[in-house]
């Protein structure tokens, strides 16, 4: 009897314990770093704690800035690095558990707004010189005209292509969507995969939806739907969904896109090997990875902006882009002044320029100077742009962003019709957005 009872009690107890009703860390790649986050709280009198997710050169720039800040201001900067996805869990549990760092990484947009609405983020409107930043960057950390963070990098999303392949088949950068479809046909005829795509993590596929919807419905489409003046079941969204499925039907993508993982390089491999000709990807991810993995590929790497759809309301100089990273100060910080100083410090010309050159992102700080050719060109592209559409998944509240990503992935998988996807999205928007 006793045995029966204790077994019955203990087994599920262990189960639930391990399953994580507590914020117990699952076996995540950064288990070590994550566990040190416990009890860290904010830094002491003369130090601040900064949580970030930069790797490689971006991390070095941050470290360098931290050292210079320490020398100049006498405040020690304690940098803690996290992995992208586990970071989201760490930061929300630490905020809920009153153990937040002084300064934390964000992607701006709806994700940050969640913390702003929960009164966890310091309003720094009066502490930053807002005219030093590009509007496109600052917009992602501004809510109700108040500024809650400082952007460091601005990622743009062009269509990257392999020049060698384009030359071989006499292809030219397309200006209209029909020209792009012709390119897809030509490449298919020659057994080249038109677009490399690894869509397990869902955001790489979302670029197609965002571009196609903008080119169909114009720059106000998303903003209107978001503010509830328009809707997510707008004709333009249905058209965009249809075009995605057309591309899938025409074999514009390799097999198994929804199962291949961008982070393990499954789309880039196809580009490097010359098996695929184009990839829509953020400038930061593309340039940083090529630098790390196959620098010689840069000789063949070029980009164009997503072409216009005839009869559509969008334009080729309307870009999709977003901020990564932005840094904000936590309300729980004991050292807010030093933390805000640090934000201003890292957005000064020197650090901003270093960061842009190393991370493959355009600097959101006005007047940054670039060494990297691509970034120089991208910053010009940005200057010529009439409109920048920030990533839906970072702008929308997280629950709605999830619906957007899920339905878009399902569109690629053909398990949902464009009408159903739009309807599901609109339904969720009605619940989530007031």
């Amino acid at each position: 009897m006793n045995y029966k009872f204790s077994m019955a009690a203990i087994l599920p107890a262990f189960l639930i314990f391990a399953a994580g009703c507590q914020p117990a860390n699952p076996e995540s790649p950064d288990g070590e770093e994550a566990s040190s986050g416990e009890n860290s709280g904010s830094g002491g009198e003369n130090s601040i704690e900064v949580w970030h997710i930069e790797t490689g050169a971006g991390e070095e720039v941050l470290q360098d800035a931290a050292e210079r800040f320490e020398e100049q201001e006498g405040v020690a900067v304690n940098l803690k690095q996290y992995q992208n996805d586990p970071y989201k869990q760490q930061i929300s549990t630490s905020m809920g558990g009153n153990a937040a760092p002084d300064v934390f990484h964000s992607w701006g947009g709806g994700w940050l707004e969640n913390f702003v609405d929960a009164d966890q983020v310091v309003n720094i409107t009066d502490d930053v010189e807002s005219d030093r930043f590009l509007e496109a960057g600052l917009g992602t950390v501004t809510f109700d005209e108040e500024i809650y963070g400082v952007p460091m990098g601005l990622d743009l999303v062009p269509v990257w292509y392999n020049k060698e392949i384009f030359d071989e088949y006499g292809l030219e950068e397309p200006e209209t969507y029909d020209e792009l479809l012709d390119i897809v046909d030509t490449l298919n005829e020659n057994d080249v995969i038109p677009f490399a795509l690894a869509n397990q993590t869902q955001w790489p596929g979302a670029f197609y939806l965002m571009y196609l919807a903008e080119r169909e419905g114009g720059e106000d489409l998303f903003a209107d739907a978001f503010s509830r003046e328009g809707s997510f079941d707008d004709e333009a969204y249905i058209e965009a969904g249809e075009k995605i499925q057309e591309l899938v039907d025409e074999n514009a993508f390799p097999d198994g896109i929804n199962g291949s993982d961008y982070d393990t390089g499954q789309s880039r491999q196809l580009m490097y090997s010359g098996d695929a000709a184009m990839e829509i990807m953020t400038s930061g991810a593309m340039l940083k990875n090529v630098d790390d993995e196959m620098p010689e590929f840069k000789e063949n790497l070029d980009y164009f902006m997503f072409p216009e759809i005839e009869g559509g309301e969008g334009a080729q100089n309307h870009l999709v882009g977003g901020v990564s990273p932005a840094f904000s100060v936590s309300e729980q910080s004991d050292n807010k002044e030093a933390a805000i100083d640090f934000l201003n410090f890292i957005s000064e010309q020197e650090t901003a320029t270093n960061f842009a050159n190393e991370s493959g992102a355009v600097s959101p700080v006005e007047g940054a100077e670039y060494e990297d050719e691509y970034i120089k060109r991208l910053s010009e592209t940005l200057n010529e742009a009439d409109f920048v559409q920030t990533y839906y998944d970072q702008t929308l509240p997280p629950a709605l962003a999830e619906v957007h990503l899920d339905t878009t992935q399902a569109l690629f998988g053909g398990s949902i019709t464009p009408e159903e996807a739009a309807e599901e999205m609109e339904q969720a928007a009605e619940e989530e957005l007031e």
Binding site: K4, M7, A8, L11, P12, A13, F14, L15, I16, F17, A18, A19, G20, C21, Q22, P26, E27, S28, P29, K88, Q89, S92, T93, M95, G96, N114, F115, D117, A118, D119, Q120, N199, Q200, T201, Q202, P254, D255, G256, I257, N258, G259, S260, D261, T264, Q266, Q269, L270, D275, P398, A399, E402, D406, Q409, A410, G413, S415, I416
Partner: protein, 311 residues
Amino acid sequence: MATNVQNKVNAKSREAFKKKNRKNWLVILGFMAPALLFYGVYVVYAIGMTFYYSLFDWNGIDSNMVFIGLQNYFEVIRDGVFWQASGNNALLIAASLLTQLPLGLIMALLLFSPIKGMRLFRTVYFMPFLMSTVAIGILFIYIFDANYGLVNQFLGAVGLESLQRGWLGNEDTAIWAVIITICWQFAPFYMILFRAAIVGISEDLYEAADIDGASAWRKFSGITLPLLRPIIITSAILSVIGALKYFDLIYVMTGGGPNNSTELMATYMYDQTFTNFSMGYGSTISSMMFIIAFIVTLGIITVDNKRKADF
């Protein structure tokens, strides 16, 4: 009849025992305290808090918790994704019981057969269980890769191009690809359990069977298998519970996708809690997991006890 005698003896000794017991009470508690403390804080308290949070509409980060009673539970019962996830858990349980245990047993038996290089096989068989789950996940992402993956290359090489597909990207095959990986990882664990149990079976029984002229199969079905019964039950419980709470490989390999086709209760709970900022709803899913696991465990133990009584 035996219990009657026992009861009399018990009645006499009970009082003395109680006295002594009371004296020892503090000592016993002292020894138990460390474990009890951990159990209390990390298990009992945590379960309590999960149930408590599940009654709120709360995002987990601000101080604004709205009490909504059982509304989360009504929602979870109507939530199609939750039931799809539970269905996948059920599938994983079935696959674990039907492949991991038999495979573990076969491997354990192989290790007792007189083959050259046994030590090597023992190490090789056990290797998957020693690898980090994340490493296994990434390894199998490459193996199932649609373009360069081992599986598709192999199918191509033997002329089965028609079977090639993006295993993890296809809603129909993704769950099977992940289940195969999970079974590959855990079969060695049961192999070790079975092997230890087989070592514990007395040689005398086999000698006696040899004298009686029993065949190898007869020895297995008449001696090995019945004596392995307790360990098989234990393994089954471990396997069922492991499958119910499973998380890691799914998280690494598919993230629950595509289109929730590989979602498990634990990954769905993670998504809701940490991606969608619904701590209340996530806690409700955790509570449901607890309830389901509790019922299943109770069921297994009841069946097992009944069997013991029949024995």
